[in-house]
């Protein structure tokens, strides 16, 4: 008797859970289509931004370990406040961040996402708001002088980033080591376990700034990959609203101010919009 009762309880619990789950998707679906409406976001009055926090100086935690700060973070905080929306920061792993956009976990991605042709195919990519390219970082005493020297050496990248794509798509002949967090790439370089790190210039500059005696940049990809906001395909309503705010922020100097705070100067955002 006891067994049957507990089994029934388990079934009820499962049913209740699925009921909650489906209720949630039902409310989310119509909101996404309400582009003609005043609300352009998934939940009216709220802007949910998908971001992988752990990518200084673009998005990272302050020393208290819980306050999100960084260039992107201040940018979307400003966007939300100008649009009169409540901001919801959805901290998510980079590997899977696009799947989260597809399944309506957030309205957009603003997480140092480089504009690449492949991403333009699958998502609605905004206009660039900050300049970026991938760079090769090595210890100062390294004999690697460019990307052609990495043959037979090991290079650390963050998994599924444009740096990772670069190594997979180009025949560099190096051993690719991919990590979940970009900080682990630098840990490995510091411990001498890898020969180089390939990463976004915005991040490279940050690490160079704090450890200039130990690293140097030996190669910059000539193909610039500026960073833009990523929207779900077909979400023109949100695209128009956000891009307009970004233009305004650029015009009145807010973007340059935030850039100077995090990068030291505004050269990364000059003349982009």
């Amino acid at each position: 008797m006891k067994k049957i009762a507990s089994l029934l309880l388990a079934v009820c619990l499962l049913l209740a859970l699925t009921a909650c789950g489906s209720a949630k998707t039902e409310t989310a679906a119509p909101a996404a289509d309400a582009s003609a409406d005043a609300s352009v976001t998934l939940t009216a009055g709220k802007l949910a931004v998908g971001v992988e926090i752990g990518y200084p100086p673009m998005e990272y935690f302050d020393e208290d370990g819980s306050t999100a700060i960084g260039f992107d973070v201040e940018m979307f905080t400003e966007i939300a406040s100008r649009m009169g929306l409540e901001l919801e920061i959805v901290d998510t792993a980079w590997d899977g961040i696009f799947a989260g956009l597809e399944s309506d976990k957030y309205d957009m991605i603003m997480s140092s996402c480089s504009i690449t042709p492949a991403r333009q195919n699958s998502y609605l990519m905004g206009e660039p708001y900050v300049q970026n390219a991938i760079e090769l970082l090595v210890p100062v005493d390294s004999d690697i002088t460019g990307i052609e020297d990495v043959t037979g050496r090991s290079v650390a990248v963050q998994g599924e980033t444009s740096s990772h794509d670069y190594l997979r798509d180009n025949d560099t002949g190096c051993e690719i080591r991919d990590y979940d967090k970009v900080i682990n790439c630098f840990d490995e370089l510091k411990l001498g376990r890898v020969d180089a790190v390939l990463t976004d210039s915005v991040v490279a500059a940050y690490y160079l700034g704090s450890d200039i005696d130990n690293y140097k940049v030996v190669w910059v990809n000539e193909e610039a990959e500026p960073i833009g906001v990523t929207y779900k395909k077909g979400n023109e309503a949100l695209y128009n609203a956000i891009e307009e705010v970004l233009d305004a922020m650029s015009a009145d100097g807010t973007t340059a101010k935030i850039a100077t705070k995090y990068f030291g100067d505004a050269s990364g955002v000059d003349g982009l919009r």
């Binding site: 699958s122 990590y179 840990d187």
Partner: protein, 219 residues
């Protein structure tokens, strides 16, 4: 049909990942099991210091996540104990998994030993056997048989915990699956991958069942 062809084209990569998964699980569980016998005996020891040290070890490794232990050993230890730096990623994973598995197995071993009737031990010592002789000749051989099913269980848990090694960029089956998922832009790769996991589990379940049968015959 096209889907099937795609899945077959992923197989070599997936099997490469499976190799690491199997190798890590096998070596780490074996090493962990050997270490665990000493831990279990140590915890049951009448020597208070040995007993406390072994208890503390077991408490530490069962009380913290394996993921964190792996991070700690690979990234944190080199910072304050440079002499213990392990640069080989497989070796680092092997050590972390062995140490962790040893703690879990130690409790299984202890339970198996304590499940043998105490009267047997008393009879053995009454016959003039030393503690070591009684353990080696009488208690441990009997407890091994009772140990097989829970160790089989621990092995299968370990097989799936092996997926955590992706954090140190070691390409086990789960990591390979995830990277195919993103590069081929299809989640279908989870189908052959899960089938491979099931095949591995089925094989080792079979092996452990055979060992159990063999042991039963000896009784």
């Amino acid at each position: 049909m096209e889907v099937l062809q795609k899945m077959i084209s992923w197989l070599p990569q997936l099997l490469n990942g499976a190799k690491i998964t199997i190798l890590l699980t096998l070596t780490a569980t074996c090493a962990g099991l050997i270490l665990s016998i000493f831990l279990a005996l140590g915890k049951m020891s009448r020597n208070k210091i040995i007993s406390k040290v072994c208890s503390a070890y077991i408490f530490f490794f069962r009380g913290t996540p394996l993921l964190m232990q792996l991070y700690f050993l690979y990234f944190a230890v080199p910072l304050f104990l440079p002499a213990l730096t392990i640069n080989n990623r497989f070796l680092a994973a092997f050590i972390a998994y062995s140490l962790n598995s040893a703690a879990y197995c130690a409790e299984l071993v202890r339970a198996a030993i304590q499940s043998i009737d105490k009267g047997q031990f008393e009879a053995a010592t009454a016959l003039g056997m030393t503690y070591g002789q009684a353990m080696r000749l009488l208690i441990i051989p009997q407890s091994i048989r009772r140990l097989v099913p829970p160790i089989g269980n621990e092995f299968i848990m370990m097989l799936k915990d092996a997926s955590l090694v992706s954090i140190i960029s070691l390409g086990d089956l789960t990591k390979v699956t995830r990277s195919i998922n993103s590069s081929a832009a299809t989640a279908l790769v989870y189908i052959p991958s899960m089938i491979i996991y099931l095949i591995i589990t089925a094989f080792f379940t079979f092996v452990f069942n055979r060992i159990e049968e063999k042991m039963a015959k000896k009784e």
